[in-house]
């Protein structure tokens, strides 16, 4: 009886060692509250005004990977409006919204482990994100664990800004950006 149990235990340990739990893809995105697969709402509500000139929003997500190679890609839809009044050329469009992405390493994560890919390495527009657009090249793991509570992670901060220009048609505009963490 004892021998098979020891055998099973060895088999189990062998499985864990050869195929660690996260071997499929230890990739994780959370928000700052460590919620997996977060939905981070970016909301702007503004009236055009003479000054200040811009309205900005910023949000952050945390990336964890136990692999040295990973990628962050993004896909955008909109923004578009169904009720904006006026010439559609004066609707708020993706190229009206500036986008600044920054990356910081926390814990054991290597400060050079996540590299922003051009044009996201400097200020750009939201329109730079299209379908499956390559945003970050991850060259180093954050640590050996993707647990949501692991203090080692790459923090990606996104800042969107919109000028309070009088050209924009009044109305409600909706869009969405989906960020996906993948193995190359």
């Amino acid at each position: 009886m004892t021998f098979p149990r020891i055998l099973f235990l060895f088999i189990f340990i062998f499985l864990i060692l050869v195929f660690p739990i996260n071997s499929l893809a230890c990739l994780s995105i959370t928000d700052d509250l460590n919620t997996p697969n977060p939905i981070i709402n970016a909301s702007f509500s503004f009236q055009p005004d003479i000054n200040p000139f811009t309205d900005c929003w910023s949000g952050a997500m945390r990336i964890r990977s136990d692999k040295n190679g990973w990628r962050l890609v993004a896909t955008r839809v909109g923004p578009s409006s169904s009720n904006a009044e006026g010439n559609s050329q004066d609707n708020v469009m993706a190229n009206d919204i500036t986008l600044n992405i920054s990356v910081q390493a926390f814990g054991q994560a290597d400060s050079n482990g996540a590299i922003l890919v051009s044009p996201f390495s400097s200020q750009t527009e939201l329109s730079s994100i299209q379908s499956g657009t390559f945003i970050i090249s991850g060259v180093k793991k954050s640590s050996n664990s993707c647990s949501s509570f692991n203090p080692s992670y790459y923090k990606v901060t996104k800042k969107l800004c919109l000028f309070r220009d009088f050209i924009f048609n009044p109305g409600a505009y909706n869009g969405q950006v989906s960020y996906i963490l993948i193995n190359p």
């Binding site: 503004f46 003479i50 996104k158 009088f166 050209i167």
Partner: protein, 204 residues
């Protein structure tokens, strides 16, 4: 019998191990996405500023026009003006005016004696046709055309004032200049006569 039991147990442990392994892997792999819904609400805005000090601090300005006249043989009129700048992203708007008569009855100036001439102009990134002067203000008029009883329509706005993007709001203004003039007639009594014209930008 014992061997069969052990084999069954072995496969059970193997299946459970595989399940733990795959479920854990799937759970980790499934947390690889973040969604950022973007919601933008742009509200309508109507703003009037002082053309001489065109910024937020001069919104809803009070502009004084002083006409000081000394009767004289020459017939040159005394005039003064004020200019306001209008900005709006609404495609339908109007500017109304109402006058409160503070006239000193001892000075026999009549509102009809004060000529009123409106002109409009637009900044380089504004639409010069965004607003149209309404009759009778589209030609020489006088102050009596601005009622003391109710708002009088002066300008009708047919489009937003911006023609192009101007993030710093420097050249996207539509300007209304009001010119008031009076002749230095010996008919008028000595004294001071005042009136206030209030302009309001409204969305019909």
């Amino acid at each position: 019998m014992t061997t069969q039991k052990n084999t069954t147990s072995f496969f059970l442990v193997l299946i459970v191990s595989c399940c733990v392994f795959f479920i854990s892997g799937d759970l980790t792999a499934s947390s690889n996405q973040a969604t950022v819904p973007i919601n933008i609400t742009v509200a309508g805005k109507l703003i009037i500023t002082d053309a001489e000090n065109d910024n937020n601090s001069s919104a809803n300005p009070t502009l004084n026009v002083n006409l000081k006249l000394v009767p004289d043989l020459s017939n040159s009129t005394v005039s003064g003006s004020s200019s306001v700048r209008i900005r709006t992203n609404l495609n339908s708007w109007k500017l109304t005016a109402q006058r409160s008569n503070l006239a000193d009855p001892l000075v026999n100036i009549d509102p009809r004696d004060i000529a009123l001439n409106f002109t409009t102009q637009a900044g380089s990134k504004a639409n010069p046709n965004a607003g149209k002067l309404l009759s009778p203000f589209n030609k020489a008029a006088d102050l009596s055309y601005i009622s003391t009883n109710s708002p009088t329509d002066v300008l009708i706005g047919v489009s937003k004032t911006s023609l192009d993007k101007d993030p710093e709001n420097r050249n996207n203004w539509f300007q209304l200049t009001s010119n008031y003039s009076v002749s230095p007639d010996f008919f008028y009594e000595i004294g001071e006569w005042n009136t206030t014209v209030s302009y309001s930008l409204v969305s019909p």
